[in-house]
């Protein structure tokens, strides 16, 4: 964290196309975003908006057709093989599905040690690091001897977070990490994300469809629609007084847990829908 205002990650005019060039499906149309050290940047949008594709492109799981991804001054847009594996030290991931993201045939301890032993750490060192991370995500020490199937969704997500943390990365791509969890579990896992960020200064790219979650955890947020960013700004502002009509529609569509406020919000939403329909007719 040399300079807090120099971005850790910059994405410039990113285009991702699946299938053959020109004929394939274009998931991202020139997306630009930046993340500073210790910052959490949210990406919200509906399914198919390209929000997960953005995270996957940064992780090297989606092809970069055009544009540039720079991490800590290094162009990683087309990092392959050994270069990409070297990045594993710095960029990590937490996926949405707490059931599919942990290999069911391995013990938790082995799952967590794997990224370290691959990097050539000794077994003793790996064991210590794993024990520390287990403690950091508030799971009992006995966790390491058990299998993923013995844990609930929230506990599994804690294990996935611990795995992302063991190599002390500087950026974690979080792809809908709390969407599959119960509400009360969701808020404790969000608190854990915030606590870890404060402790070790890691940055997050936080992909979600839930504006409430994004408001809680993100400093800035980008709203995506059909492969483009329509609004990018302060999270508290975008989630309360959005500028772009699409962001407004997203906000009004998410119900609030308060009958009176929700009745009001629904009225506004219906009015906005009327307007849109009228505009469509014209």
């Amino acid at each position: 964290m040399a300079d807090v205002n120099t971005p850790l990650l910059t994405v410039e005019d990113l285009v991702v196309e699946y299938g053959s060039r020109g004929k394939g499906f274009r998931a991202l149309h020139g997306v630009s975003i930046d993340i500073k050290p210790g910052e959490c940047v949210g990406v919200v949008g509906e399914s198919g908006s390209g929000k997960s594709t953005l995270g996957n492109a940064i992780l090297g799981l989606a092809p970069v057709t055009e544009g540039k991804i720079t991490f800590d001054g290094e162009d990683i847009s087309h990092a392959k093989g050994a270069d990409r594996r070297r990045l594993a030290k710095s960029i990590q991931v937490v996926f949405q599905d707490p059931y599919g993201s942990l290999d069911p045939t391995m013990r938790v301890g082995d799952i967590l040690a794997e990224p370290l032993t691959v990097a050539g750490e000794s077994k003793d060192k790996a064991r210590d690091a794993v024990a520390e991370m287990i403690e950091r995500v508030h799971l009992p020490a006995g966790t390491i001897d058990r299998y993923p199937s013995e844990f609930s969704g929230g506990q599994r997500q804690r294990i996935a977070i611990a795995r992302a943390l063991v190599r002390r990365p500087r950026l974690i791509v979080c792809d809908e990490p709390v969407s599959a969890l119960d509400l009360t579990t969701q808020s404790t896992v969000i608190d854990l994300f915030i606590e870890i960020q404060r402790d070790i200064g890691v940055s997050y790219l936080f992909v979600s469809h839930d504006l409430g979650v994004v408001r809680r955890i993100c400093h800035r947020v980008a709203v995506m629609q059909r492969g483009e960013i329509v609004e990018f700004g302060d999270a508290a502002m975008v989630t309360s007084e959005p500028e772009h009509p699409y962001s407004a529609r997203l906000l009004l569509a998410s119900p609030v847990a308060d009958p009176a406020a929700q009745a009001q919000r629904r009225q506004n939403w219906l009015a906005l829908r009327e307007e849109d329909n009228a505009a469509a007719v014209r």
């Binding site: 399914s47 799981l61 691959v118 006995g142 809680r216 508290a236 308060d258 929700q262």
Partner: protein
């Protein structure tokens, strides 16, 4: 310390549940018997030189076609050789041939399948084409050609059989790999810095080997069958004893000495049967993770439960004759290996016509089980009992299953959580909407079509003609949910049950669907029971709400009152967990920074 102890303590029984497939395999009767037979056969083959009573090729002309005797336990063959000895040495030939076949098929097929499934691309296309081509080739002709061309070279022939069996391994390995390849843990391993070969060894292989072993048991049986067939046709040296050649000889003298055919046929039959049983037993063990509960255990648990029953939770808000739905003391239980486990412990509630009742709770609270019981659609192993489930004045819990099923689609409409998996991809939307109208409501084709069209229009689908002709995969998730709603209301039910109807949808679509449900419910004056975990949805549409926790109702109330001042702390926790109006990250950080600043001087002072 105490937490650690607890964790380790209950880790033990869980660990025993996770026993290896092998130890569960030898505990089933079919498993231990088939394994015993195969081990016996292998032992016979290995020990042949020592246990065979005579040289298999020693000719004793007096023993020609001799019946079983003390000297020749199974008698002699047509040229006077000892049948038992030939059978024992034939076991060697059979197993050796099967081994060559299996190793060939395994070594070529399995790695090719894993690589094709993992990397895809050109290799996948080429390998799949070759695999299909091998399957299309008439195997016996190839084998006869190879036999003729190589002067009946036995190992080469068996290896050829192996190549012919390669597609079996290739397809299984490829399909399993494809499935695992798409699991997020493989992507996570890649992001963690594992190379592709390492991912294949560490993460793909453990998921592929079980079906490969099963395939091997079955393929070994097939290999032995083909081998015997070739020998029966006279391929192979006459001096090497083999079961197939013995069967050929037995076939020639079938009418005069039927025993000549019996012995080798029995040996081959028992061996192949043992392999087949072993394969299918392994297959069952891999597919079913936990053994199903015995009936005794279920009954014992049921009585035990009955003794320790707590009174029902929940309450009624209306008189029995005013309610559209009245559920009294509903219990749901599932059979588990250690007896029956109750997931809903006696709940009572009711809904008036035209009212929207929300059932909220976290996963495992029993909210969906409640709806499934009302629909009589509990998954297998599940069972419910109730003092009454009265829907529109009839106690449906006392109706026979057939009568009960008729209510679905007429009295009771159901909207599921996953719209896509609740539509059959093989039929058009129109057909799926018309089918229940025709079979349940006995409408003519034209009437059914008119109703279906009207309903689709009613749920806000603009292009009705196109949607009627579409298959489910041609429409979006939101559209699919509208179609299901159209289907649910087509029979004009008095009660609509919706299980998390908007959870799988985007928020904008969710808002549309909730608005639609509100309109329809208003228009048809239905009682709507809506299961959800989202308090925003409750605030949006529900009149009353039930809060469930661990199979009990902890709170019932009017929505406005519940939100204004919930009686139960659990309800308040749930409502406050929704993050609406909660502090934003900036506010949290400011608060945190403030605390840090305050705390420091204090520490210095101390």
């Amino acid at each position: 310390m105490s937490t650690t102890a607890i964790v380790q303590e209950d880790a033990d029984p869980r660990a025993s549940k996770r026993q290896s497939i092998f130890s569960r395999f030898i505990r089933t009767p079919a498993g231990i018997i088939s394994l015993g037979v195969i081990l016996f056969i292998i032992a016979v083959a290995v020990l042949a030189p020592w246990i065979s009573p005579q040289d298999p090729n020693y000719v004793d002309l007096f023993a020609a076609k001799a019946p079983p005797s003390a000297e020749h336990w199974l008698g002699g063959d047509s040229t006077g050789r000892d049948i038992l000895s030939r059978l024992i040495w034939g076991t060697r030939t059979t197993l050796w041939g099967a081994l060559i076949t299996i190793v060939t098929a395994l070594v070529i097929g399995a790695p090719a399948g894993v690589v094709a499934g993992y990397f895809g691309g050109a290799f996948d296309r080429a390998a799949s084409w070759v695999s299909d081509a091998i399957q299309a080739i008439p195997g016996m002709i190839i084998l006869l050609v190879v036999a003729a061309g190589t002067r009946q070279n036995f190992p080469l022939l068996m290896a050829t059989v192996g190549v012919l069996l390669t597609p079996g391994y290739y397809r299984i390995a490829r399909a399993r790999t494809l499935t695992i390849r798409n699991e997020p843990f493989v992507a996570a391993a890649w992001v963690a810095g594992l190379s592709h070969p390492r991912i294949i060894v560490k993460h793909i292989f453990p998921g592929v080997y079980a079906p490969i072993i099963i395939q091997t048991a079955l393929a070994a049986g097939i290999a032995m069958g083909i081998q015997a067939g070739l020998q029966f046709l006279g391929i192979g040296s006459a001096n090497v004893p083999s079961w197939g050649a013995m069967m050929n000889e037995g076939f020639r003298f079938m009418l005069t000495s039927p025993l000549l055919l019996l012995w080798p046929s029995a040996a081959l039959g028992v061996t192949i049967a043992a392999l087949a049983v072993m394969g299918s037993t392994l297959g069952d063990l891999v597919r079913v993770r936990t053994p199903s509960a015995g009936k005794k255990a279920t009954a014992a648990a049921a009585t035990a439960n009955a003794a320790a029953r707590a009174p029902a939770t929940g309450a009624f808000a209306y008189d029995a004759d005013k309610a559209a739905v009245r559920v009294e003391n509903l219990r749901v239980a599932y059979a588990t290996p250690s007896g029956e486990s109750e997931v809903v412990h006696g709940i009572s509630f009711d809904v008036a016509p035209g009212e929207v009742l929300g059932i909220v709770g976290e996963s495992g609270s029993g909210k969906s089980q409640t709806v499934f019981s009302m629909l009589d659609l509990l998954p297998s192993g599940g069972r419910y009992e109730a003092d009454g489930i009265v829907i529109s004045g009839r106690d449906v819990a006392k109706l026979p299953a057939k009568e009960r099923a008729k209510l679905l689609g007429s009295e009771i409409g159901y909207i599921p959580q996953e719209p896509m998996s609740n539509l059959d991809p093989c039929y058009t939307i129109g057909f799926q909407l018309m089918q229940p109208l025709r079979s349940v409501h006995k409408k003519s084709r034209k009437e059914a079509r008119d109703i279906a069209r009207a309903m689709l229009e009613r749920v806000g689908i603009a292009d009705v003609d196109r949607v009627m002709k579409s298959y489910p995969f041609e429409i979006s998730g939101g559209m699919a949910q509208r179609v299901l709603i159209a289907g649910a209301i087509a029979g004009q039910p008095s009660v609509l049950l919706a299980d998390e109807p908007t959870t799988a949808l985007d928020v904008t679509v969710q808002a549309e669907v909730l608005e639609l449900l509100r309109e329809l419910q208003d228009e048809f004056h239905m009682a709507l029971v809506l299961v959800t975990h989202n308090f925003g949805v409750v605030a949006d549409i529900c009149d009353r709400v039930i809060v469930m926790r661990d199979g009990d109702i902890v709170e019932v109330g009017e929505v406005r009152e519940t939100f204004a001042g919930a009686k139960e702390p659990y309800t308040r926790d749930l409502i406050s967990a929704s993050l609406d109006g909660a502090a934003s990250r900036r506010e949290l950080d400011e608060e945190f920074a403030g605390k840090g600043a305050n705390a420091q001087p204090a520490a210095q002072g101390a």
